[in-house]
Amino acid sequence: MLINASHLDYVALNESIRKTDENCELIGCLGQRYIAAGMAQRSIRIDGVPGNALGAYLNGATITVYGNAQDAVGDTMNDGRIIVHGNVGDAVGYAMRSGEIFVKGNAGYRAGIHMKEYRDKVPVMVIGGVAGSFLGEYQAGGKIIVLGLGRASRPIISNFPCTGMHGGKVYLRSDCRDVLFPDQVTVRSTTDEDLADIFKYVSEYCNLFGYDVAQVMNAAFTVVTPNSNNPYKQMYVAN
């Protein structure tokens, strides 16, 4: 179903999506929040700029954005898939607990903050470009993969990555010599096993956005995990 969002506020837009069980195609989006929040089993295609908290609590639906998205994409998402053919703002995948997010371009600050996993619920986020500061802040589970495609001389991620991390993994397509990590995480080159762990998601990324997976994988990768010998015990206060 085609929905013209240009003169709908976020309440009206979301109501018109919920009114139908069909897949939806939204055109003329301009900043409406919470699009497809909590939705299961459908496909939503978006033209324009969706507002903050796109796909919050998403529960199985697939959202595709043909442009940039704003802040808090996939906030607390539970299942499903969000594909962004552009950049995303801050806090993408905030507290995400399962499902997949693929971002063709760059992510802002705090990507994957407080991502978590439980048994077979393992969230995955692939960022094709570079990510801002505080990537994987307080990460407790799941996989964050940053590819750094087209970054030239820019560092793949910015300051204070993995601060407060106590679970999950961060994969970075870089030797990371120009990145300063906290002492409470372990930083090492990937093994074949690590690469096998992410191959499926990198090939899906390449498939979605038209890259050659062999070329993308043919690079140095670094993996970051919590350092169980020196875990975060007190972040900001002694307690």
Partner: protein, 470 residues
């Protein structure tokens, strides 16, 4: 939106009527209530709820009257503790608060009990070539960000809007009444040549109510006065602004620059723009703000932008270091009178840029100083400079979330706090640069905006007019 009546039950109500009857002026008020009157513009804009008011409200509450039978008191704001103006009252918890909105007839719960999806909104547009735009463009930007504010403040700053008076200061003032206006005019006449004095033209807008008297004065400091007090012109004007804002009850200067002006009110920014007829002004740079006040009152003087001379600031965020910053800056003659944290940032920028002659980049490095761990990674020259700035102006480090746009004659600067706890996006198209809290706002102004990017925390984005264009 005019908020008229209040409500709530406190635990006191369960103790019986006597709990209220006994209250004397020495008894702490049993409600976290600040009376904020929108009927009259007063400075400060609120008073602690008088005992009379309390009695009315409590009696009504106690006897369980329905909302429509409540006395139509002005809005009462609640907090666990309110310390902003010298006295501290501790209040028992409030079980529920409702506010009646006269305009819509809705009875709504207050934020905290219901989630209001808000956060302030900022936006700006500047033409590097100095081409003027009507204020309509910037109003357009605020529409998709409507839900970021809650109707308790909106405002704009326009640059290049008074070209025929470009060498004069344009004072915009709010007055409670004509008595306050006459007193203030007397003061102005003693020190300034007043070229023009007029009501700022406004348009009737249903959503904008309880407007104070809003006047504009085009003035020039009298040469003889400047010589007598031996101050440069800008310092002289600054002192006049501080004097009026601190000593003249019921008068408030909210704009005092050359060839620029601020326009602000209680209301949503789109309504505020229509109210001030911004479509009839043309400027090369506009900034805008939609307010969602968190812990300070939503009154006319508290709306953004906050200005001094040509500097104006619109701000999304909350300054954790407000009191530390305020104590420092008040040592240099500035006085924070407007009950909103952003005000201090305007004075800080005036102090750093005008008094201390820092560059914009240096001023940004003071208020959004990099962490020491980041400074340690810099080359020797940068490290030395940043260390110097952090050490000398330690009290002007602004902590807590902010995204601001600083407007000045000939340009603007956008800046995020160093942790980047608020959003800000920049884009451009031809001669124009756009800045906003959301990309949607930029697209509303210019659907084909290019080079959209989000500056990092503490990374100033400085845009200046091309030489000769202004």
């Amino acid at each position: 939106m005019r908020l008229l009546a209040v409500v709530k039950r406190t635990k006191y109500t369960q103790k019986g009527k006597g709990a209220f009857e006994g209250s004397s002026s020495k008894t702490p008020l049993p409600l976290t209530a600040i009376l904020y009157t929108q009927k009259r513009f007063v400075n400060p804009p609120f008073a602690i709820v008088s005992r009379v008011f309390c009695t009315q409200v409590y009696m009504a509450l106690y006897s369980g009257l329905s909302l429509d039978k409540l006395m139509p008191v002005d809005i009462i704001l609640f907090n666990e503790q309110w310390r902003s103006y010298g006295e501290s009252y501790a209040f028992p918890p409030v079980d529920a608060i409702f506010v009646y909105c006269e305009r819509t007839g809705d009875v709504v719960r207050l934020e905290g009990q219901v989630r209001i999806p808000s956060g302030c909104a900022v936006a700006a547009v500047i033409s590097r070539a100095g081409k003027v735009m009507s204020g309509e463009k910037i109003i357009t930007a605020m529409k998709p960000m409507h839900d970021r504010s809650n109707g308790l403040g909106g405002g704009y700053a326009g640059y290049g809007i008074y070209p025929e008076y470009r060498d004069f200061y344009a004072f915009h003032l709010f007055f409670n009444d004509n008595t306050a206006r006459k007193q203030c005019e007397q003061l102005l006449k003693e020190g300034y040549e007043v070229v023009q004095a007029e009501l700022i033209p406004t348009r009737q807008v249903a959503a904008i109510t309880d407007a104070p008297l809003i006047w504009r004065y085009i003035v020039q400091p009298l040469r003889s006065c400047l010589e007598r007090v031996q101050l440069d012109e800008k310092e002289y004007v600054t002192r006049t602004v501080m004097k009026i804002n601190t000593e003249h009850d019921g008068a408030n200067v909210f704009s005092s620059g050359k060839n620029m002006g601020a326009f602000k009110a209680v209301g949503f920014p789109e309504d505020v723009g229509a109210f001030y007829r911004l479509d009839e002004y043309a400027g090369y740079c506009w900034t805008a703000h939609g307010r969602y006040p968190t812990n300070t009152p939503g009154w006319w003087g508290g709306a953004h932008p906050f200005t001094l001379l040509d500097y104006s600031i619109v701000h999304n965020g909350e300054i954790s270091s407000y009191d530390a910053n305020r104590r420092f800056i008040e040592m240099y003659g500035y006085k924070c009178t407007l009950q909103t944290d952003t005000e201090v940032m305007t004075y800080i920028m005036d102090y750093l840029l005008r008094i201390q002659s820092l560059t914009l980049e240096e001023a940004a490095a003071v208020i959004a100083a990099p962490f020491w761990s980041t400074i340690d990674m810099m080359n020797d020259q940068e490290r030395e400079k940043l260390t110097y700035l952090r050490a000398v102006f330690a009290s002007l480090l602004v902590t807590g979330p902010f995204s601001i746009v600083l407007g000045f004659s000939g340009g603007l600067m956008a800046l995020n706090d160093r942790l980047k706890l608020r959003s800000m996006v920049v884009g451009e198209k031809d001669d124009k640069v756009f800045i906003a809290s959301e990309e949607a706002a930029i697209r509303a102004m210019e659907p084909d905006a290019e080079n959209i990017f989000a500056p990092a925390g503490g990374e100033p984005v400085i845009v200046r007019l091309e030489e000769g264009s202004y």
